[in-house]
Symmetry: D2
Subunit: 337 residues, 4 copies
Amino acid sequence: MDRKLQIGVIGAGRIAQLHIDNLAYRIPEAEVVGIADINFERAEEIAKKYKIINVYEDYKELLGNPDVDAVFICSTTDTHSPVSIAAAKAGKHIFCEKPIDRKLERIIPVLEEIKKAGVKYQVAFNRRFDHSYKHVRDVVREGKIGNVHIVKITARDPKLAPISYLKDSGGLFLDMCTHDFDMVRFLSGSEIVEVTAIGTCLVDKSVEKIGDIDTAITTMKLSNGALAVIDNSRQAVYGYDQRVEVFGSKGCVCADNATGDTTSIYTVEAVTKNKPLWDFLERFNDAYVEEARCFIDSCLNGAEIKADANDGLQSIKAALAAARSWKLGGIPVKVEE
Amino acid sequence: MDRKLQIGVIGAGRIAQLHIDNLAYRIPEAEVVGIADINFERAEEIAKKYKIINVYEDYKELLGNPDVDAVFICSTTDTHSPVSIAAAKAGKHIFCEKPIDRKLERIIPVLEEIKKAGVKYQVAFNRRFDHSYKHVRDVVREGKIGNVHIVKITARDPKLAPISYLKDSGGLFLDMCTHDFDMVRFLSGSEIVEVTAIGTCLVDKSVEKIGDIDTAITTMKLSNGALAVIDNSRQAVYGYDQRVEVFGSKGCVCADNATGDTTSIYTVEAVTKNKPLWDFLERFNDAYVEEARCFIDSCLNGAEIKADANDGLQSIKAALAAARSWKLGGIPVKVEE
Amino acid sequence: MDRKLQIGVIGAGRIAQLHIDNLAYRIPEAEVVGIADINFERAEEIAKKYKIINVYEDYKELLGNPDVDAVFICSTTDTHSPVSIAAAKAGKHIFCEKPIDRKLERIIPVLEEIKKAGVKYQVAFNRRFDHSYKHVRDVVREGKIGNVHIVKITARDPKLAPISYLKDSGGLFLDMCTHDFDMVRFLSGSEIVEVTAIGTCLVDKSVEKIGDIDTAITTMKLSNGALAVIDNSRQAVYGYDQRVEVFGSKGCVCADNATGDTTSIYTVEAVTKNKPLWDFLERFNDAYVEEARCFIDSCLNGAEIKADANDGLQSIKAALAAARSWKLGGIPVKVEE
Amino acid sequence: MDRKLQIGVIGAGRIAQLHIDNLAYRIPEAEVVGIADINFERAEEIAKKYKIINVYEDYKELLGNPDVDAVFICSTTDTHSPVSIAAAKAGKHIFCEKPIDRKLERIIPVLEEIKKAGVKYQVAFNRRFDHSYKHVRDVVREGKIGNVHIVKITARDPKLAPISYLKDSGGLFLDMCTHDFDMVRFLSGSEIVEVTAIGTCLVDKSVEKIGDIDTAITTMKLSNGALAVIDNSRQAVYGYDQRVEVFGSKGCVCADNATGDTTSIYTVEAVTKNKPLWDFLERFNDAYVEEARCFIDSCLNGAEIKADANDGLQSIKAALAAARSWKLGGIPVKVEE
């Protein structure tokens, strides 16, 4: 390692801090050299804590710094696409929090611009970097379960997010399911062709009032002929319930929930085991490090990007089709419509 | 126990023998006193083996025997409804193999006739009598998982049945999924309102040639507002894959596959465990005894019938809706249409 | 099958009834033709229930019946050896409840007599016929875990037996651990050479008053150089805790407890699973049938006896050595002393 | 946090680096300000990597540095006790790798000196800081399983260490089992009173040549009347096999192995799961951080030391008793002898 990758971070919220911490302490090949946030004080505070030398209010100044090799875009969702375009024009490699955008007409130009600029672009589909999910994918790719017939995903959040957050989240399918649509593609190695979604409001009636749902089942037809299904809930009181299963002609591979420990308690009443880990930060703790490490490796050594802009695009397309199917009362909607 | 319930069995095929064996050896309260089959020799053979005193070619003669308190209808599917009606008219209690019929217009008269006759009528939904499934249902009923949000069922047969059988089976939804639709109703305590089904042929292309499918995902809306989903395959090479899960406002309860033993082998390559039990006879061995025992108990002591004619009707209605949804390209179909 | 094996049962207690039920309903190759018990009424009652034609007060009369091919000795422990000798002299094949006797000087003559008479002799080590334990043994025999290094057995009864029973039971090692010593030999395919035992009274102080213990750990050296350990308790409130593990140069194989069903419940408090089955009748239900079936098969078709008189002898030798080690304060005791 | 705890590290080997890495990146409250190693170059290299300002060849110079609040003793085992004494005399808090020493007469003075100096002293029993083991201990302490009857520990290394290492390791009991004896005390909350050990050489005959064993079973009587047992192997080819179980009057609590992921693969041959984690660095990765964090917390805020010098002493006493029992052919040896 001759030279560390010099990184600028755009945004200074929770997820930005998570990445900065990982870059500072877990990935020796990287160095955070700048941070930008419209809330300058917040950026300064983090800069102080992590000894980041350059602090900006305007991300464009950060992009103007020739020492910056790559940026992590951790600002609000609506800024992801314009910042991506500006960063690509500035010749920076880009790690962008998901989603790139919620509108196709704003994602397409990003793909064009990064192609033109020839920069690396990674979308933060952290689950692709989780040990268990990678193992499932590898088992599928190696043909151990034969041809894929059915992909099943359970994705349930532990706790309903505040209504204030949900209001601007884009709705269940765009906010929560994009990870799951990406998993369907990742695990099957196939594209989503058609989507049918049913949904309802069972966790909290306030969700209905903002025109959204909190419980849904989405089925899909894939380009290789296989079927897929996702079930979602905004609230599983026992923890972050994240399971996947791929069934094929020669067998089945699945990943169960991760738990906090491996204990069992036997009493006259029952056998008790530990609950699933509580949230995505606990569950995908290592995956966050791994996704950053892979991005740095791509920038420094040309390693393949494992979650690229097209992956970001396809996942949004599927989510939009699901949202449309649900609104139309559950009729099938083609993704390429 | 003053007097055993005198039973006549109609049909002398595999499932008839299974019931006769259970009635003879596992249920002291019952006695098989007659058997009828159009193949008289086959009936005679079984009669000899189990010391059944009366053997008939025509089931109507069996129904005419005043010593017979109750009948087990184990003849071919197309005979279930006419035999049911004749048995009801003869005042016999009836245990009928599933399905009652595949056509609603032939099931309705059965319900009317048994109502008129005031006889007991049980449909052979054996899964309702399985320890694990009963436990799941009890947990739901006791409110331990709160309000039901999602019911999920995986039902995969270990091996594709012969095409000759499949040709007359009524298709995947009517042949294989009626058990699963019944489980959705049984576990949720709620009715199926709307069904959407996608399906395809991935196990064997011969299935496509007879106009059927071997892989399907069916989603449902239930009368209590909950959602449900079933995934089916005609062939899971690793065994009879039968799992259920009910997710609710206060938790989740599920039943995993049963295995042949409890061993684990740890080697340098992997940790290996036993596979799921191979087929329905292994898996629901005890459930077959239990369903017969409960029926006998209803006849002798007036205990509640746990899978009645209406259960048989509702399951067929859901299956017909699913088949229709699939044929219409996956649009939602109301069950009451 | 030309002729059923004609069986006489000696004893009419709980275990006798269990065997009679299995012979009557589960094993078509056998027929119980006689029963003897010093409590004639009890014998008559069972005879009536199972339609057994000959009832005796004196077991010698049963042995005198030339129609009887084989006997099941289910009378009290102190009668096992004299009845065995008498039965052998009468030329009957013998299935004997465990133990043959608690004293070596009374077991040796049994072995001599059955050798002289050339009759089949099976001891009721039912665990050898359990699916999981057989699987463990097969994995070991097939060399899948290489050379055996350590055998570990956990054997805990669900509930302390009444003190009245324990008083005449011969003590923990002779009453409870003979099954476990047999398992060590069965799973390792090796003899027990030296035994060291520590024990104490923790479940109930009444056990101490009768000079016995309720909690023990016994270690062993085996003839193939491997080590073994058994831990015992007279009371595991959560159920019948029976687990085995064999560790070797190439891996490890173990059998976990069997449970009543396969359900899991996830709530905000915990994940709960079903408890181990409650007692030996539940846990080894199928093993009882299988051991009888194997014995019948040996008598009728010359199949190998899978738990013979020598197995009964060796297990008692180990138990006596363990009892001696415990009484001597935990010093090692050779089995051949 | 006003001021970080200033730490000096003595030794620059593998375990020293592990602690330095954790202190640098995972524990914000600490700062490594000095490192000493007789191999000065090695110390310098690490100092450079972690920006440690003071590098010494002689640990006494480090102890002389008034900025150093606490030391991590990571030098060779024979130096632990003299360095501990010198550090105590210098008024430094001490975190000492295990064991303090292998001889009682060299451990006692350490305890005296730290008492006199009033400094904090923690022994590196990392397992006390593992999530699962802590959970087991908490369940026991809270009385959920009632009075402790039996403690069971399985401790098997994945791979035989080189003979060159084993030769100077002090033997299986002193090198490998001290962790396990500490776990018996930790989980039971009770002292080890008497030890009986049997052992043999089954993994590799070279171990026998150096007068050691590679396979052992050790039983114990505890001061609260409970029994305990440990089984050890120097080589479990399937991974680092570390399991504990505490059985009591009201139930049982156990901690199973941790695995690399949560996947299962179902095929026509078997169900395969992931193996246990490979070694102590993988398995106790988080426990290493936690033990350091707790020590820092004790030094800065007076929190209780969770593995103190007496714990180190007691574990060695039990190991010495075990070694003596084994050498004497398996007779019981009192710990206080």
